[in-house]
């Protein structure tokens, strides 16, 4: 029956991240923060990052509301980039967005994403791709210190 196919999207690990999101908390201090909204569905993410002197992600946390995919993606993203330096994190964001759009990447790049690589399954659900990318997009823009337009700000 149809619902069994859902398992290919909502893998156990995804549901687990959604139910028990990692790093879903505020940071005491942060060097880079951003709030982004997905206009299509209204999902929101507030992302805070603490970079150290070597531009390494010393701490990261998020808050916000959204669907299983966006919550889980944010959780997996924060897990994956914690402790990475800025450059690496930006490369991972690029790998992720390429991956969900179907652009091929070396396996090593995908491995670097950790749990997040599992979201390549989103490709079969085109309408949900934005749900998966919101967190990574926020990461990228926070690190590049791009200010969101007024509108994207919650």
């Amino acid at each position: 029956m149809g619902l069994s196919k859902l398992n290919s999207l909502y893998r156990e690990v995804i549901l687990d991240h959604a139910d028990h999101p990692r790093h879903k908390h505020d940071l005491a201090t942060s060097t880079n923060t951003i709030t982004l909204k997905n206009p299509t569905c209204g999902d929101v993410i507030n992302l805070s990052i603490q970079l150290d002197d070597q531009e390494k992600i010393q701490d990261i946390g998020f808050s916000g509301d959204g669907c299983t995919i966006s919550q889980s993606s944010a959780s997996m993203m924060t897990d994956a980039v914690m402790g990475k330096d800025k450059e690496t994190a930006l490369r991972m964001a690029k790998t992720f967005s390429d991956m969900v759009m179907g652009t091929k990447h070396p396996q090593a790049d995908l491995d670097e994403l950790g749990d997040a690589a599992i979201l390549s399954s989103i490709m079969s659900f085109p309408a949900r791709i934005k749900c998966a990318t919101l967190a990574w997009w926020a990461l990228q823009r926070a690190l590049l210190e791009e200010t969101p337009t007024d509108e994207e700000e919650a």
Partner: protein, 415 residues
């Protein structure tokens, strides 16, 4: 009706398909309806026998195409009971029609300090044109609110509509709350204050008998694609006296009388508002959709949908995991049903239902201010039409139960 529903379904080949290995249950009719073969046949027939550009053509095909096109206008006229066919302007759709009114009549009459009154349940297409007009003209945009059970608050309407009000613009039927608004009463109210009223008929014309003269609306816009017609065609009704005083909307071929290097004069109604080559085949297809719906009878269409609502709505309302928006009394609810399931995001619901072959929409339904007003970011929405059945409603109920099961523990166990 119930007797021949299977015959009706045969007219919609698109329904006869599997989606994700399940028989399709199409419940996204508020977004767009499906087209009967009569409509696609009329398109093909037009293109393969009469196709030509209309008006001004002397040759036989041009004459036939012109006749086809103008006949379609007369069909639409009769369908909404406009006083004359020249009051029916073909547009691209509801959005196009509402923008036309805001950019011509609105531009002309709204001045600083004037008020435009809409409702909080408006679709963006009947909201942003007025919002932007108000910003540009330094006018005030006021919102009529809702009653506790999700209907338009007529007491608030009586408060908000004042002698400063120049334009009232209201959805005849809501695309989220499933309400049919008392447009005739609102028209009376508007007229008492010297304002005109614009009806957004996008969700009403496809599903209910509509009589623009009985409603006494000044303008009324709707889309072909939501009433089984082709995409890219719609109609705007306007009272002759208003249409005549308005400037044209777009400029180009067919809408002129005389063009000189530095000035031009405009054609008579309705051509003044139909610049350039129109969606001729689209109009013909809309005419054929009107024929199809008229043959069945709009009262029958409405009754068929009401029977489904009577059956389904109480079951949804009774489910403690569900929040159903709009009135809970089925008699006050159209076939557009927006809801949320506790703990499951509407996008996840829509994806899950799709896996069961049930097509619903999830999101803000182009009604963000309404979402904000209701304290929501999004909802799921199932919307029914003539070709839907109680079995479709049952399929929705079963799929919803399975979706809840899946997200609560099913999936994890399954892996």
């Amino acid at each position: 009706m119930a007797a021949n529903i299977l015959d009706i379904r045969k007219n919609f080949p698109v329904l006869n398909q599997q989606v994700n290995d399940e028989q399709l249950v199409y419940l996204d009719n508020a977004a767009t309806a499906q087209r009967p073969t009569a409509v696609t046949d009329s398109l093909v027939h037009f293109y393969q026998t009469d196709n030509a550009n209309v008006h001004r053509g002397v040759h036989t095909l041009a004459e036939r195409a012109t006749e086809d096109y103008e006949n379609a206008r007369v069909k639409v006229q009769h369908f909404i009971n406009a006083a004359e066919s020249a009051e029916v302007i073909f547009t691209k759709g509801t959005t196009d029609g509402l923008n036309l009114v805001a950019s011509t009549y609105g531009e002309q009459v709204i001045q600083a300090g004037d008020e435009i009154v809409i409702s909080i349940m408006e679709h963006h297409s009947n909201l942003i044109p007025w919002q932007q007009l108000a910003i540009k003209k330094h006018a005030t945009l006021k919102y009529i609110g809702l009653t506790a059970d999700g209907e338009l608050d007529m007491a608030d309407a009586a408060d908000k509509i004042t002698d400063k009000t120049k334009i009232v613009a209201i959805a005849h039927a809501s695309n989220v709350l499933g309400t049919l608004n008392p447009l005739a009463d609102l028209a009376k109210l508007a007229h008492q204050h010297g304002a005109i009223i614009v009806g957004d008929g996008a969700q009403a014309v496809p599903h209910h008998p509509v009589d623009v003269q009985a409603l006494d609306v000044d303008f009324y816009a709707f889309s072909g694609h939501k009433m089984m017609g082709p995409t890219g065609i719609g109609a705007l009704y306007g009272k002759r006296a208003l249409l005549e005083q308005m400037p044209p909307y777009q400029f180009g071929g067919e809408m002129i009388d005389f063009v000189h290097q530095q000035d031009s004069t405009w054609a008579q109604l309705p051509y003044k508002f139909e610049a350039g080559t129109q969606n001729i085949a689209g109009a013909v297809g809309l005419g054929s959709a009107v024929d199809y719906l008229s043959d069945i009878g709009m009262a029958n269409v409405a009754a068929h949908e009401q029977a489904i609502v009577d059956y389904l709505l109480p079951k949804l309302v009774a489910d403690p995991d569900l929040a159903v928006y709009g009135p809970h009394d089925p008699a006050k609810h159209t076939g557009v049903i927006a809801f949320n399931v506790k703990g499951i995001h509407p996008h996840d619901i829509a994806t899950a239902l799709d896996m069961e072959g049930v097509a619903v929409r999830a999101g803000h339904h182009c009604a963000q201010p309404l979402m904000t007003y209701l304290g929501l970011v999004a909802t799921a929405r199932a919307s029914f039409y003539l070709y839907n059945t109680k079995q479709d409603a049952d399929r929705l109920l079963v799929a919803l139960a399975e979706t809840k099961e899946f997200f609560n523990h099913g999936a994890v166990k399954a892996e």
